[in-house]
Subunit: 259 residues, 2 copies
Amino acid sequence: MSRPIGVFDSGLGGLTVLKSLVQSFPSENFIYLGDTARLPYGSKSPKTIYNYLYQNINYLRKFDIKGAIVACNSASSVLRPEEFKDLPVVGVIEAGTKAALNATQNKRIGVIGTRATIGFGAYQDLLKQLDDQIEIFAQACPLFVPLVEEGLTHDPLTNLICFRYLKNLVDQQIDTLILGCTHYPLLKPAMARVLGPNIQMIDSADAIAELVGEGWSLSRQTGEGSVQVLCTDTTDHFKQMAGLILDTIKIDEFEKVDL
Amino acid sequence: MSRPIGVFDSGLGGLTVLKSLVQSFPSENFIYLGDTARLPYGSKSPKTIYNYLYQNINYLRKFDIKGAIVACNSASSVLRPEEFKDLPVVGVIEAGTKAALNATQNKRIGVIGTRATIGFGAYQDLLKQLDDQIEIFAQACPLFVPLVEEGLTHDPLTNLICFRYLKNLVDQQIDTLILGCTHYPLLKPAMARVLGPNIQMIDSADAIAELVGEGWSLSRQTGEGSVQVLCTDTTDHFKQMAGLILDTIKIDEFEKVDL
């Protein structure tokens, strides 16, 4: 059996990344860790998030993973991949940033995320570092996660809140918008009503799949890889939501673990 | 020096309770613990919340407290005060329920809270247990906490969301509404627009002060008691918000601690 790929997030959001990976590389084996006992990371200090990130990756290493994907934006903000010399590690921030730079024509890029992600500035820093011509417009959207978790993805309230958050980015004539939170893809239809047809949304799930597909030479062959989902605090809600997000993807094993 | 009173919450919300206590009993000494590294409790399983509750109370006991106040609704849901034989412990649920039963005339009581608090049903159970004639109308309001944390307490969006959540309770002709979350008092003006003048809101902060004032024979004398604030993950945001919530109340000591 081929060595598995580890994916972790503080909670459910990263399952959108897992889903995209399984769809792109169906014969690979995946192990997902949702650190639900300690979620959300966004409200915690960088030092605490850093400690959690390293605990989680070290836990996943016990499964002899061939690489780790940090599907949590807050954890991705404090990731220093060079510290894992023998293990390839990529985060959603690196992936989203590179995809946005490939997509933009006018070099005006918007970034949305939680207050922690936007405040920490990791997307903005990496964009500037890779291309100092880029103009960046960042906006924190703290109501988006609760709207998604409330199931209000299609609701007039959500349309109003999207307008409130995104109107200024449209006025700034961005042509690319990085969705800097794994929950946000579920709001794409509502956001598209404000953004119109000319602004491209960059979804980290797709961006990660593209990045590791090349870098880690993963197999795109059809097949039946295994999918294992672990979380640090099982609740029925998590299991139910995981099923909804993963949709047709079968979970081979679902387990509560202690780190 | 008189033995201090311990107050704990998963985060900032319980500071509204601390403030009310300090105003009612200014010569008493208080020690507040905000378990910010592990917040929010609401999304975690009852067993995990129970473990955190006992860790926090045991931590506070090191300061020789004369009583502990559980200002967190989720933790209050799983509290069994009889397990602390030698230490008086009260939670916001007991306090809010008793105050609501005193206030209602028509025995129709509404309860609002996070999804966890409402789903767990502790308010509903205790109300029924103390008076089986009560008709209870419960409503989860998961967008209220992020609205408060966004500072949108006075905003047309908040008015719309209040209407969405509270309209049904008004139609049910409740005369009393328990605010089952320590953040909610900050939304009183917006909620009042939907509730009108005939529905009384029960604020746990005031209810707790009333309950322990009698039960624990605390001093209402003027004086300069000390206020110590501890949290498990200091961030600048916490310190800043704590200052805003406590307003004119002076914090004598602010410290990050490990449990």
